[in-house]
């Protein structure tokens, strides 16, 4: 084998790959028909858990390219306990993420102090029109269904988190 000229060995490599593809199938998937599952941590789309959001604007401010738009107003809500004072809550009017601008850095998810934002590995939401890439709060809430459980950690990891 070592004496063979490199030209012939190279031909062997391509032929071998061809035979392997014949036998074991290709390394690619035929996308619309079969799909590869992205890893659990994959940053596909940001899901919004509306109830947790206090419209504190931290995410909006920490976004490196300012693609999160939040508008809210204050309202009095019935007290939690019987006879308590009515609570003042922030009600979200608008929570938009412009995915045409988003660069999927994940800083917003990380800074959110109330666990209102989550990553979902969903990736099939491209639109022919760039203005449709602006997801409003109902659409962002719909993504919540696709948010997976956080994966178990590798051996030796520090268990306590946050």
């Amino acid at each position: 084998m070592a004496q063979l000229p490199g030209l012939l060995k190279g031909l062997g490599i391509t032929f071998g790959t061809m035979m392997r593809t014949f036998k074991n199938g290709s390394n690619t998937v035929q996308y619309p028909h079969e799909k590869e599952a992205p890893p659990v941590r994959a940053r596909g789309v940001i899901a919004l858990h509306q109830d947790n959001c206090t419209s504190c604007m931290l995410c909006s401010r920490s976004c490196p390219d300012w693609c999160i738009y939040i508008e809210a107003h204050k309202e009095l809500a019935p007290p939690r306990r019987e006879g308590g004072k009515p609570r003042q809550v922030n009600l979200l009017d608008r929570f938009d993420i412009d995915y045409a601008l988003c660069m999927y850095c994940g800083i917003c998810v990380e800074v959110c102090p109330f666990d209102a934002l989550f990553w979902s590995p969903e990736y099939e939401y491209s639109e022919p029109n760039i203005t449709d890439m602006l997801h409003d709060k109902t659409k962002l809430s719909e993504w919540m269904e696709t948010v997976p459980e956080a994966p178990a950690l590798e051996v030796g990891a520090d268990k306590k988190k946050k």
């Binding site: 030209l7 190279g10 031909l11 490599i13 391509t14 032929f15 790959t17 061809m18 392997r20 593809t21 014949f22 290709s26 390394n27 690619t28 035929q30």
Partner: protein, 351 residues
């Protein structure tokens, strides 16, 4: 070719058959090569599947591609020399059509049976150089001009080893007529063993290798694809072409590959014939009529085998540099084929 399978065909019918046959003989190999090798084999060698959507296993992809190219705008650069620019692809494709004319497909299935068949083939194959030079010059693009000049230098340089490689076959067969070369191979014998006839790939192995290398270069396939090197010259002389004219270049490239492979199979692998001893034939006249139907299939099969090697090499190797290519032609291929001719001539005289 007045009668085909016992049916008398009038002159106009013969002409029509010839034109249709020529179209089939050029376009069918081109389409098959593109689908089987360019789409599928290349993909498998790169561990992917290639086109799968259009038709079963992507078999109609070719139709889609042709449709796409036909729809595209036919862009002509402002500074281009328009008539020359338009003529160039046609001349390249014309060379292919002129080339297929001499390939025999069966005892009676041929377009013309020229006495100087292989000489004619070598002559018309050089016409495509003109088309390429025209394309390179008229595009008003430096990359195109460089590509055209490279192509011309390369094609001229590799025509010589090709001619010299063919010479060995011509000496051994004693004729330039392709039909007779086929008969000589299938009716012949090697050292008295006539089970396999005498395909010249065995006795002219050096010539066969030189011829295959030379047609690889004539077709500007890797590792000799400097004229259209996409990473250097951005497809060279084809840079400015789009739409239908690019399609013609594209068809020309693969059709020429097929036709050259047919010629190579005729010269070295016995062409349309099977060894005559299998069926007890002795000469051209005793060949059965059904070879006219089976013959084209045999040529086609041999053509596919040879194009497989051409494409396999194309998908595997990186390309030479221009001066290395010239050095390879002049210092390796031409001396080797000259020695081959000398040996063949000496052996021919001895035996």
């Amino acid at each position: 070719m007045n009668t085909l399978l016992g049916v008398v065909i009038p002159y106009w019918g013969q002409s029509l058959l010839r034109v249709l046959g020529g179209l089939v003989a050029v376009l069918l190999p081109a389409g098959t090569i593109v689908y089987v090798f360019l789409f599928k084999m290349m993909s498998f060698m790169q561990s992917r599947l290639g086109p799968m959507e259009a038709g079963p296993y992507g078999s109609l992809q070719l139709v889609a591609e042709v449709g796409k190219w036909l729809q595209k705008e036919d862009i002509q650069p402002t500074n281009a020399d328009k008539p020359v620019f338009k003529m160039a692809p046609i001349i390249v494709l014309m060379s292919t059509f002129l080339l297929v004319v001499v390939v025999p497909f069966g005892p009676d299935a041929w377009f013309t049976n020229l006495e100087t068949g292989i000489f004619y083939a070598l002559a018309v194959s050089s016409i495509s150089v003109l088309g390429i030079l025209m394309a390179g010059w008229s595009s008003a693009n430096k990359y195109s001009l460089l590509g055209g000049l490279r192509a011309a230098g390369q094609l001229i340089a590799y025509e010589l080893p090709m001619v010299l490689a063919v010479m060995g076959v011509v000496i051994q067969a004693g004729t330039m007529n392709l039909q007779q070369i086929v008969v000589a191979q299938n009716a012949g014998s090697i050292f008295g063993i006539n089970t396999f006839g005498n395909p010249y790939v065995i006795t002219q192995f050096v010539g066969f290798i030189v011829f295959m290398i030379a047609i690889q270069a004539e077709l500007t396939q890797a590792p000799f694809d400097m004229p259209i090197a996409e990473s250097e010259l951005v497809s060279g002389y084809m840079t400015e072409y789009s739409g239908f004219r690019f399609l013609i270049f594209f068809i020309g490239e693969f059709a020429t590959a097929g036709v050259f492979a047919m010629i190579a199979s005729t010269l070295f692998l016995g062409g349309w014939g099977v060894p005559f001893s299998w069926f007890g034939w002795t000469s051209m006249d005793s060949v059965s009529n059904w070879m006219n139907i089976v013959g084209p299939l045999i040529v086609f099969t041999k053509m596919m085998v040879l194009t497989f090697f051409i494409m396999w090499v194309r998908f595997t190797y990186p390309r030479f540099r221009e001066d290395q290519l010239q050095r390879f032609a002049w210092k390796v291929l031409i001396p080797v084929s000259l020695v081959n001719i000398m040996l063949t001539a000496v052996l021919k005289v001895m035996f």
